[in-house]
Symmetry: C2
Subunit: 347 residues, 2 copies
């Protein structure tokens, strides 16, 4: 497998994105997030997405120069139409607006819609950290693929409706949560099927609602479903995410407008300025103290230590910054093809 | 078992609470919430709490005439010191302030501390509904009994850190979520132990971190722990609740003040005015449409239908409004004792 330094991969990704019509700042932001996903061990959201983004761009499924439009605005709230821009850019703009409004008012929320795949949610929640704010992001897919069955049901009615939350620390790694409210993201089931592997218990049901460990049920006809994580509690959380993301984000109203180029996703970003509640330095120290407190628990059998959300990613990033990012041969060859088609030099 | 109409039980509870020094409005509010818990099938938070509240009041553990104090305030944020008032009254005041600020700004958050047991969280999140707002409540117990082990750990480090969320509907029963981020509340384990029953899988570990179905491990020495619900995802959610409730609610700073009469809980209430994002009527209809959509899933084996959070409570309330509330003999006899000690006539 070829191995790349993060800066060189980021530079290549940026040049490819600029060749697709992104402004230099936008291309740099998107390239940085893709490479950061690789660094943090989430290859599914890394540079392997480039060929997919390129195909989407070629068929006109994304507007690389989109300027998100604020369609409704209050002192600490807004609704933004992403104008079918890259999800990473629309979410960045929504979160920036949210942070700006939270700086003025103390907290703020921005709903948004009309954007493409936005990558890892954590990246946007974490934008709040340097401002000593708590950051939140909720993403729902209203009429998108409904892989997830409601609790007690046997047919898919919900998307994997992920959420992210980040809290600033003083010396410790900040808390950074990012997960699907389904037992697993759909991509994990797809990968298990490709590899001929079984899925873990409490992940899937077949079309009759019976538990199964066979990932192929999700692509059979009639189709099986992914379960919410944690039973009825995860189901409830998924409904909350759907209401925040799709209803506050107003993804719904666009469904009436028939257009192949409009996405089916909605999102809600939120920021809370901790200094409106306690001195920010003290707050950060309290987060440290909470982190140290939970980490002081002796590990359970099968675990080496207690980790906090965001810690595995931070460790992996430190490791790969030093060692370089390995890419699968096929991923690398597909990126080279895209570069060639766009007449972008490899290095 | 004796059986009571909701109004008669509410009237009795109100008169007992007034005899303990609560203002008529406060006593009526608290009595209504206790009886509502019975009506909705949550007897653990119903009038059976009265004798416990009476004992707490007798030993000076609650101030029945407390006036919560706003100790920090911004346009859409506040921190409130509950002055060791009844949790149901402090949470009501915090949520009222939150709703008032959200009406002005579009959304708001109020952290609070120094209150006693506050009953069902859903009651406060639901206060937002008539204002066409989304309501949230997060409660954390900073140095309270740490029943819950972090994911990957084998020692208790977190409280059961519950959360509540409510969303207004048009014709359907509103969405109302209220649950502990632990696999079960501690009270359920205690009851199982009393009844000689086993706990379900993935609920408890013993002091060595091994899974067990024996509820007595939670009260053994060294002590076992309750697991977070849904593995690492519930653990992450518990940390989020702790940060919102205890750090924004500033339960921490009081820990330095040594006083037996100060509680160890913190809470964070939040309200979002949906009309800042979409016309409120349309929003309510969209919630209806989401509810009908998930309920349209055929049931899985072992289920009769798909329910939404809040539906079981609404059905039980309708049933018991008609049939009356049955109380266990012991509960009723203890309430009679309290009434006698306070010279309150039974009916």
């Amino acid at each position: 497998m070829p191995n790349f330094s993060a800066p060189s991969l980021e530079d290549l990704a940026q040049r490819i994105l600029q060749a697709m019509g992104l402004a230099p700042d936008d291309a740099a932001w998107l390239a940085r997030l893709l490479v950061k996903s690789n660094l943090q061990g989430h290859d599914s959201h890394g540079v392997a997405r480039m060929p997919q983004y390129y195909q989407m761009w070629r068929r006109g499924g994304v507007n690389p120069a989109a300027k998100p439009l604020i369609i409704q605005e209050g002192p600490v709230t807004a609704v933004m139409d992403g104008q079918m821009g890259f999800g990473q850019l629309v979410a960045r703009d929504a979160m920036r607006l949210c942070i700006e409004k939270a700086r003025g008012g103390g907290m703020a929320g921005v709903g948004f819609h009309n954007f493409t795949h936005l990558g890892r949610l954590a990246d946007f929640a974490e934008m709040a950290l340097e401002h000593s704010m708590l950051g939140f992001l909720f993403v729902g897919g209203r009429s998108a693929d409904q892989w997830v069955a409601p609790w007690g049901g046997r047919a898919g009615r919900l998307s994997t409706n992920p959420l992210a939350f980040a809290a600033p620390a003083a010396e410790c790694t900040p808390i950074s949560i990012d997960y699907a409210t389904s037992a697993v993201p759909e991509g994990v089931v797809r990968l298990k099927k490709l590899r001929g592997e079984k899925t873990p218990p409490r992940t899937l049901i077949d079309a009759d609602g019976h538990p199964t460990d066979d990932p192929s049920v999700l692509y059979a006809s009639p189709r099986g479903s992914i379960l919410p994580f944690g039973g009825h509690k995860g189901y409830a959380l998924s409904l909350m995410v759907e209401i925040l993301a799709c209803l506050l984000g107003r993804s719904g109203e666009r469904l009436a407008v028939a257009s192949v180029n409009q996405s089916r996703f909605g999102a809600f970003a939120m920021a809370i300025d901790v200094s409106r509640f306690a001195p920010a330095d003290e707050f950060r120290k309290e987060v440290d103290s909470l982190i140290r407190h939970v980490k002081s628990s002796p590990p359970a059998p099968g675990f080496e230590e207690v980790l906090t959300p965001g810690e595995p990613e931070a460790r992996q990033e430190q490791k790969l910054q030093a060692e370089g990012i390995p890419l699968e041969d096929e991923t690398w060859s597909r990126i080279r093809e895209v570069a060639a088609e766009l007449s972008v030099e490899i290095f």
